[in-house]
């Protein structure tokens, strides 16, 4: 390769890249919180007795799961833009990832609910628990155990998906900052290598802390 690495100037960009990583984390966390909320609504909507709610929930889930995240984010920015609705780059990226998260998580929750046998509810009810009590004390803890790892997976996905923000003009997240430095100096490999390491550490941080949490939470 006809390239000599210049690491020193690249390391000087590190503080700004770490601030970018914070923005990345912020978007990922927000999109997960919102995504979980929407996912619960979608999971409820999908099993609703009203056709309109069912249709809305199913089409959301289908679109979110079967189209590229890039397309979803682009649509949130330029698609809505063509209708005169102008989302800020940050909001458009957040909306796009939330849409995606909610779609995947809705299916995760549905699967989690299905995995708890109906007999457990009946057993709980026969012990004299009310419907809500049975759900809260018997179904929920078991479901949570099942969806916990898929949730962490989605969180890692959300972090990685934030890198798509550059296509809608976001320039203060990790990829945005990296790309600015890249185009200014043309030192592509150094900056991208640093960004890759930071993304790796962020993702690893999520999975490791999830494992620790699970170890504390799910002891019998």
């Amino acid at each position: 390769m006809n390239y000599t690495f210049h690491w020193l100037p690249a390391f000087r960009a590190l503080p700004e890249m770490l601030w970018g990583a914070l923005v990345t984390l912020e978007i990922a966390v927000l999109s997960m919180v919102l995504g979980v909320l929407f996912a619960v609504l979608l999971a409820v909507g999908a099993s609703s007795q009203y056709r309109i709610f069912r249709a809305a929930a199913v089409s959301w889930v289908e679109l979110a799961r079967n189209t590229p995240a890039l397309f979803q984010i682009y649509m949130a920015y330029f698609g809505l833009g063509s209708l005169g609705i102008h989302l800020d780059s940050f909001v458009a990226l957040l909306a796009g990832i939330t849409f995606n998260n909610a779609g995947y998580l809705a299916e995760t929750f549905r699967g989690g609910l299905r995995a708890v046998p109906q007999t457990q509810v009946r057993a709980a009810r026969s012990l004299g628990m009310g419907q809500i009590q049975a759900f809260r004390l018997v179904v929920m803890p078991q479901m949570f155990r099942i969806v916990f790892y898929p949730l962490t997976n989605q969180m890692v996905w959300a972090i990685l998906m934030t890198s798509l923000g550059v296509i809608v003009g976001l320039n203060n997240d990790l990829t945005g900052v990296t790309q600015e430095y890249n185009v200014r100096s043309f030192r592509t490999f150094e900056y991208f290598a640093l960004a890759a390491v930071i993304y790796y550490l962020l993702a690893k941080f999520v999975t490791v802390s999830a494992r620790l949490m699970a170890w504390r939470l799910f002891r019998y």
Partner: protein, 270 residues
Amino acid sequence: MAKGFGILAAAALTLAAVLPAQADKLDDIIASGTLRCAVVLDFPPMGSRDANNEPIGFDVDYCNDLAKALGVKAEVVETPFPDRIPALVSGRVDVGVASTSDTLERAKTAGFTIPYFAFKMVVLTKDGLGIKDYDSLKGKKTGSVSGTFEALALEKDVKAWGTGSFRGYQTQADVFLALSQGQIEATVVTSTVAAAIVKEGKYKGLMMGGDAPYDIDYVALIALRNEQGLLNYLNLFVNQQVRTGRYKALYDKWIGLGEAPDLTVPGVYR
């Protein structure tokens, strides 16, 4: 004696092993029979695609001329602005004929020739927003292609003003889309692009908003920094293009308005 022969043979072998490595990029291009140029194709009139999806434009013709001078076939490799250097370094292209501004920061990474073109910058906006000149950009939502000469200048000014905003997009097409939709209210682009895009009329309501008070944006051909042989050849080629009148002919063909920009800086060599 036998020992002496052994040393001689070893020396000959070493030489044979070393010599082919001496062939530089210029040799490689001539030997391979193909010149691969990185050209940006969403940047009319320098590079774009015609109705049959064929690459056309000033830069495309420039690449063809260069290939002809080298006696090889030209191959245009479409390359977005941010990908020019990666394309060069990873060996996907031999030279960049891609309107690359010759900043000192970039020259630490890529090898620049003498300028082969020069741009003036103008404000591009939409009618009805009351933007008439560069100063009225203050406090407005602006944007440009991330990392370009004009983007760096505009972002710096927006930061200095302390009001308004700047967004960097990945392609020129996205900037025009954002401008026509109202995501941003104005951008700064090269006068050639502005003229082409307003004339084309694909995006409704775009109009020029006066000159931007930046330095002239000299752009150069790029090659790998260590390929001095190739860079020498390219420098001479740029010189010959002007000397033979081909530069002016290409300017008249693709831009047409006024005089072809002067590529020399008064008072200094190179």
